[in-house]
């Protein structure tokens, strides 16, 4: 979190984390496509030729002034593939809140778990822990046939009982609900720490 008194700005960093192809970039693309131009910056995506995130996606959004202050949200995604583990670590520097985008398909459960453990490990190096940090889980791809029931996903992934959301990111279902929840959680968390 970064506060600039002179400009009365509050800057928060939110990272979308999750295994490869779970829908992290799709979330940001949807948010970018729907927001009023006055509230969003450019969406920058560093991708491979195969259209996979190689380093990160980045976008800054805002909601205007609130009581004279300007909250700004820097949204990042991480690359999901296993071999980009070091890159994921660096994107977490200065993170204030996380959206874990899980792939609801049964064959991706192991990848979800592995990435969640990877996240816990990286957060520890930043001095945080999943049991005391603002984060939410998004169960994406709910529209696909044969996806795991939410109860199963909850049991296998949501050990800390954080807010969870069902989503179909390509259609935008659940995308803004997830974003609003994590922002509200981060702000409340900051207040609790004071």
């Amino acid at each position: 979190m970064f506060i600039n008194w002179a400009l009365q700005e509050i800057n928060l960093k939110i990272v979308y984390y999750g295994p490869g192809m779970s829908g992290k970039t799709t979330n940001l693309e949807y948010i970018h496509s729907k927001l009023d131009p006055s509230l969003k910056g450019e969406l920058v995506s560093l991708k491979t030729k195969e259209d996979r995130t190689i380093f990160f996606d980045f976008m800054q959004i805002e909601v205007g002034r609130i009581k004279g202050k300007k909250p700004k949200f820097n949204l990042y995604t991480v690359p999901g593939q296993v071999y980009y583990a070091s890159s994921r670590k660096v994107i977490l520097n200065g993170v204030d809140g996380i959206v874990f985008v899980a792939d609801s398909q049964p064959h991706r459960m192991e990848a979800n778990i592995e990435t969640l453990l990877d996240l816990e490990e990286n957060l520890k190096q930043e001095g945080h822990s999943l049991d005391n940090f603002p984060w939410v889980i998004q169960y994406n791809k709910r529209d696909l046939p044969g996806v795991e029931p939410v109860e199963v996903l909850q049991k296998r992934l949501n050990f800390f009982n954080v807010p969870h959301f069902e989503a179909v990111a390509v259609r935008g279902d659940g995308v803004f609900d997830t974003l609003k929840a994590v922002i509200n959680l981060v702000v409340r968390h900051v207040q609790d720490q004071l």
Binding site: I3, F58, G94, S129
Partner: protein, 170 residues
């Protein structure tokens, strides 16, 4: 001292007071004049842009500072992997028309200088070195009374933010 507070959960909160911001902006202006740089950015290591000077209208400087921070972070990891214990202190990218010079300012901040290829690197290095010393001094400026996070983020703010999110993010 720039207020870098560790919150109860271990997270880092950086608060820049008015005096510091003014002092920082002054240093950047002087550097811009001396080096005739196209653009100068001062940012923190998480990618957050703090202040800028120069012809930045055509440049998305918010994105540039996010990318530059990642540049530092990536090369820092590379240094570890190749057995280099210290972090690389500066990064230089050479282009056809423009060069980019990145230098860290303490452990938490960095400076980006974008300059024309006609300007010598030596000149940039000399003036940037001085600017970094001035910036570190600027970060030591004491703030005004009452510039606290508690005043920035209160219950009212949270609730109004929630409303603004509902109105705009749908």
């Amino acid at each position: 001292m720039v207020q870098t507070r560790k919150l109860k959960d271990g997270s880092r909160q950086v608060i820049l007071n008015g005096k510091q911001y003014e002092a920082i902006t002054k240093v950047l202006s002087e550097l811009a004049t001396k080096t005739k740089a196209s653009a100068i950015l001062f940012a923190d290591m998480s990618g957050q842009l703090i202040s800028q000077r120069g012809n930045t209208e055509d440049m998305n400087t918010t994105v540039l500072s996010a990318l530059a921070a990642s540049d530092f972070a990536a090369t820092s990891e590379m240094a570890k992997l190749v057995g280099e214990e210290a972090k690389f202190k500066l990064l230089f990218h050479e282009g056809e028309k423009r060069n980019v010079y990145l230098s860290n300012v303490g452990d938490d901040f960095f400076l980006v200088v974008v300059f024309d290829v006609s300007v010598t690197l030596g000149l940039i290095r000399i003036y940037t070195k001085k600017a970094i010393e001035d910036l570190l001094a600027a970060l030591e400026e004491e703030g005004e009374e009452g510039e606290t996070t508690e005043k920035m983020i209160d219950d009212d703010f949270s609730s109004l933010l929630g409303d603004a999110l509902d109105d705009n993010f749908k």
